[in-house]
Symmetry: C2
Subunit: 325 residues, 2 copies
């Protein structure tokens, strides 16, 4: 299923989205520099803001008809898909070895996308997630630093995961969506279609992007999707896009305490699936514990069975005619 050598035809990157923004009236500051001198800083003038970053790898002779676009979750970057915290191969290169061209991105205001000055451009400061708050959010355990029993995330490498975290704004989701939309608009000029693989908050952006481009998005792989709008949202576009929903463990109804997103998904999944069923949508609900696979955290792609889950996803894509040329 995988190859020893990845034959890369092309690798590159670009920024996309955003706009020129002029900052005016900001204080001109003299910033201290090692106590030796002060550096005169004048931020007023022209800046580019609200862009995102994309890094892509194209294979010589890909097996899959469309590239796989990997969209990360909140407070994280494209690093999510790279080497796992304990040093195993990430999904980016695993899927390359399986024959997919792979695009990994950093959403607006995270990682290599850079971020906009606040309060001049973005009106609010960002939120910093602590070890303690992430522990619950990422389904590591109910109380930091105690892991859930059977936890598959390599918790002894939790530091390495925390190093990947980036500050997260609550006031730039519209910019992020706009940049994702422009990203797909750009690819549409060169490619016949794409497969979106999104994680956590990234699933919200992927669903919105697919709604606008139902012909271009050939499949949705939604990993631990945190947002399942419950009633009136437009779902018609999902009739024609094969969808794979992947969820890990530790979401049982009687498990307490849980983070609010877990409760949201638990509460809304039945309605969501009911609507998909009613419209005859082609979707697979892969709740791993129902397959006998227990112990997966919110960070599935880093858990000790991450390669096995990647293989399940590959098999689903092959089944949909999207994994083999």
């Amino acid at each position: 299923m995988t190859n020893d050598i990845i034959p890369v035809k092309k690798r590159g990157s670009f920024h996309v989205g955003g706009e020129r923004t002029v900052i005016q009236g900001a204080p001109v500051e003299d910033l201290p520099y090692f106590g030796t001198f002060t550096f005169h800083s004048d931020p007023n003038g022209t800046h580019w803001t609200k862009q995102m970053y994309v890094q892509y790898t194209e294979l010589a002779g890909p097996k899959a008809p469309y590239p796989l676009l990997m969209w990360h979750g909140g407070g994280l970057t494209g690093v999510t898909w790279e080497t796992t915290p304990d040093g195993r191969e990430g999904w980016d290169t695993l899927f390359l070895r399986m024959g997919f061209d792979v695009y990994v991105s950093d959403a607006v205001e995270r990682g290599r996308a850079s971020w906009a000055k606040f309060p001049d451009v973005n009106p609010t400061p960002p939120l910093f997630h602590s070890y303690e708050s992430r522990w619950l959010n990422l389904k590591m355990g109910a109380v930091y630093p105690e892991p859930y029993q059977g936890q598959r995330f390599p918790v002894q490498y939790y530091d390495q995961l925390m190093m990947q975290g980036v500050p997260r704004w609550m006031t730039s989701d519209e910019w992020t969506q706009a940049a994702y939309d422009q990203y797909l608009e750009r690819l549409e000029k060169a490619l016949p279609g794409v497969i979106l693989m999104a994680h956590s908050q990234g699933c919200t952006f992927a669903l919105n992007a697919a709604r606008k481009r139902p012909d271009f998005v050939k499949a949705l792989v939604l990993v631990e999707c945190v947002s399942l709008p419950d009633s009136k949202s437009d779902m018609a576009f999902l009739r024609d896009i094969p969808q794979l929903y992947v969820y890990g463990d530790f979401m049982e109804p009687d498990r307490e305490p849980v983070h609010s997103w877990v409760a949201h998904v638990r509460d809304n999944a039945p309605t969501w699936r009911g609507r998909l069923d009613a419209m005859g949508a082609d979707y697979t609900w892969m709740h791993l514990p129902e397959l006998g696979i227990r112990g997966n955290s919110h960070m599935l792609m880093m858990d000790d069975n991450s390669a096995d889950i990647a293989e399940l996803i590959r098999q689903w894509l092959v089944q949909k005619g999207l994994g083999v040329q």
Copy 2:
């Protein structure tokens, strides 16, 4: 000199450096979210800070005996070495095609390295470079938006370069140096040596890192190095490390106005070279205009002749026995 296919054996990434940091006494905030609800944010607790990010690509059968580590300049990230703003191949993949394993990094508080909360961890806010200030700094021209005559940077794609810019702190250079040192310490356990290729501010960190590991650093390729300490700095380590200094155009003594770093280099280069000569160091001073190559900006690796300059560097490395196995 280059190959159509890059045979990748392994690609991956890691974060290195930094430490656990506890934030206490920070205000707990309710951040507005699209006017619909407020998000309760409590940044107090444990965080990892002062780390850097490294992405590496190892070839199946590299030609070069040591990998090439690419260190970016101030207010930028590893994206510096990737696809040029006008869409040509970046030095990262050009050098991969030439047979070098390539490591590209984001220094502390930039890009995928993430950044620390201020003033809680880093005492100061960052500096935001504008289009106008960067224009001079990067030797695009004397007055924005007029390019120097003969400018080789594709100025019609200046937006794309500005999208790559990230905020820059003036108070974390010691953290950055420490992370770079730990990065080399980590590689030392697995590799016999490395070649450091640094740009602009990155050259300062590369020189300091080489001073501490003169046996491990097999060569220094310093591209538009902005810092040439003028007198009492320890240079003994440079006796045994081959050095290539590459400078572009627009630094003539009679050219005004110039950014302060250009004046610094112009003023200090004679002393620096004099000391290298006196100690019999193996160095090459490649001032491109002296080779008849005019028009290069501070962003050499993005200029219209970037592939030619990469080839000059490759030839120098081959000459030093570092380009061919």
